[in-house]
């Protein structure tokens, strides 16, 4: 279901009408049913139902088990089991071809005359989002940030809340979970604010992004016909096309949620007004950055392995290096994962991952040296 389609807008209007005429106690059930229909609308198949259950059931059962063992070794073991189950499915669905492509490259290098055939996986809409959202939920329960959800259907709603399935933002159980289940009344001011935000979002997508898309496609499709200036202009227009499409989708999602009475975390903060690459990425897809920081970057940097590395670096290269080397290594791992998040192909891992790490690495080195001078 496309966010800008008339069908989607009608779907939202019907959902909201039923939501607000329902007694508060049952409003969350309307959201759940609406989310399940949205989830399987284009892709109802036994395999996609299994995919959803492979995330939901372990998240629910293991979450409840972890709750009794927060911040303990036992809790950690259960948490790791949950993460492995969810990640294994995600890797199987999204990254099989990446591994096959790697195997083919290796075969070429070794002159082995065999090429693996790429596979087509039928994965459920938004599976990357709610795989990570539910991993975050399990980690939060383990850390004691939130209590485990006792009702599996409420857990299912947290996982599948339909507006965020296509573009995010990433939600956290402790801040959004409760809002999903409590009843809401329709307020005139939130209705107006929500509608304005939806209209802004549609304007960004339909008027700006799609128009820029025509310009970009015309040039990218016939590169040999255009001079360097046009290609640069198309590259810049593509960035704006991407931004207006993504942030416009987020506006639509935020607007719908605002009308319901659910406050979602913001995902953009004027990224193109940033002074540095680091700042730009801090203001772009903010909730993905925050997710990675809290669940990957911090634990990685604080891990025994990184601390041992820091000790070795301190002994060999001094205090500054002891701080910087583990940090750069953790950043590199995080950026490879960000690249992989954008798509299971090398171009994403390199372009949206490693290349961005190199920019930030250079920025940090230059900033440190310029400061010294």
């Amino acid at each position: 279901m496309n966010l800008t389609s008339l069908f989607f807008l009608c779907y939202v209007v019907i959902t909201l009408c039923i939501y607000f005429i329902m007694p508060k106690k049952f409003q969350w059930v309307v959201l759940l049913i609406s989310s399940i229909i949205f989830l399987f609308y284009d892709n109802l198949h036994i395999s996609t139902v299994i995919q959803a259950l492979v995330i939901l059931v372990p998240s629910y059962i293991l979450g409840r088990k972890i709750e009794n063992h927060t911040n303990t070794k036992q809790g950690k073991k259960i948490l790791i089991l949950g993460i492995i189950i969810i990640l294994a499915q995600l890797i199987y669905l999204k990254y099989t071809n990446l591994f096959l492509a790697t195997a083919n490259h290796i075969n070429n290098l070794l002159n082995i005359d065999y090429q693996f055939t790429f596979v087509q996986r039928n994965s459920l809409i938004g599976i990357s989002y709610y795989s990570l959202i539910m991993i975050g939920y399990l980690v939060d329960v383990y850390r004691g940030t939130c209590k485990a959800e006792k009702n599996i259907f409420k857990c299912a709603l947290f996982m599948s809340y339909f507006p965020i399935l296509t573009s995010g933002p990433f939600i956290r159980y402790d801040s959004v979970g409760k809002q999903l289940y409590e009843g809401h009344k329709l307020h005139y001011d939130t209705l107006c604010r929500g509608l304005i935000r939806i209209l802004w979002g549609l304007f960004k997508i339909l008027v700006i992004s799609q128009r820029l898309g025509m310009f970009v496609d015309a040039i990218y499709g016939n590169l040999e016909m255009f001079t360097f200036i046009f290609i640069i202009a198309a590259a810049m227009a593509f960035v704006m096309q991407l931004y207006t499409n993504f942030s416009g989708s987020i506006d639509v999602i935020m607007g719908i949620s605002e009308i319901i009475g659910i406050k979602l975390p913001e995902n953009f903060n004027l990224p193109f007004f940033s002074r540095t690459i680091t700042e730009l990425w801090r203001n772009w897809h903010i909730t993905l950055g925050a997710w990675l920081k809290d669940y990957i970057f911090y634990p990685l940097l604080k891990s025994d392995a990184m601390q041992n590395l820091a000790k070795k670096c301190k002994a060999k290269f001094g205090k500054k290096a002891a701080k910087k080397i583990p940090m750069y290594l953790s950043m590199l791992i995080m950026w490879i994962l960000i690249g992989a998040w954008h798509g299971g192909e090398y171009k994403f891992i390199i372009g949206s991952g490693i290349l961005q790490f190199i920019f930030m690495f250079l920025e940090d080195i230059l900033r440190t040296n310029i400061k010294k001078d």
Binding site: N71, V139, D140, R143, G144, T145, K293, D294, F297, Y298, P299, L301, K302, Q307, A310, K323, M327
Partner: protein, 82 residues
């Protein structure tokens, strides 16, 4: 251990991590008050504090502590074995 003593030892850690001998932390000190205290340095700081006091913060505490006062509360709780 008294609260003042924790602050005294924290001052040493902060000065060492941020390379600034003029730093004096208080209950209300936050990352906004120290120029280089960003999310990257935060972990270095947390690890240095752990080593100084021989205790561990859990990740929830690492990501949610709002100021130095809260950090001191956690340190005292751990030392007193609560």
């Amino acid at each position: 251990m008294k609260r003042e003593e924790v602050f005294e030892r924290l001052n040493k850690v902060f000065r060492d991590i941020f390379d600034d001998e003029s730093i004096v932390v208080t209950e209300e000190t936050t990352s906004n008050d120290i120029e280089d205290w960003d999310s990257l340095e935060h972990i270095n700081l947390v690890v240095a504090v752990e080593q100084e006091f021989g205790m561990k913060f859990n990740m929830n505490e690492v990501t949610t502590m709002k100021n130095v006062g809260e950090m001191v509360d956690i340190i005292l709780d751990r030392i007193e074995g609560k």
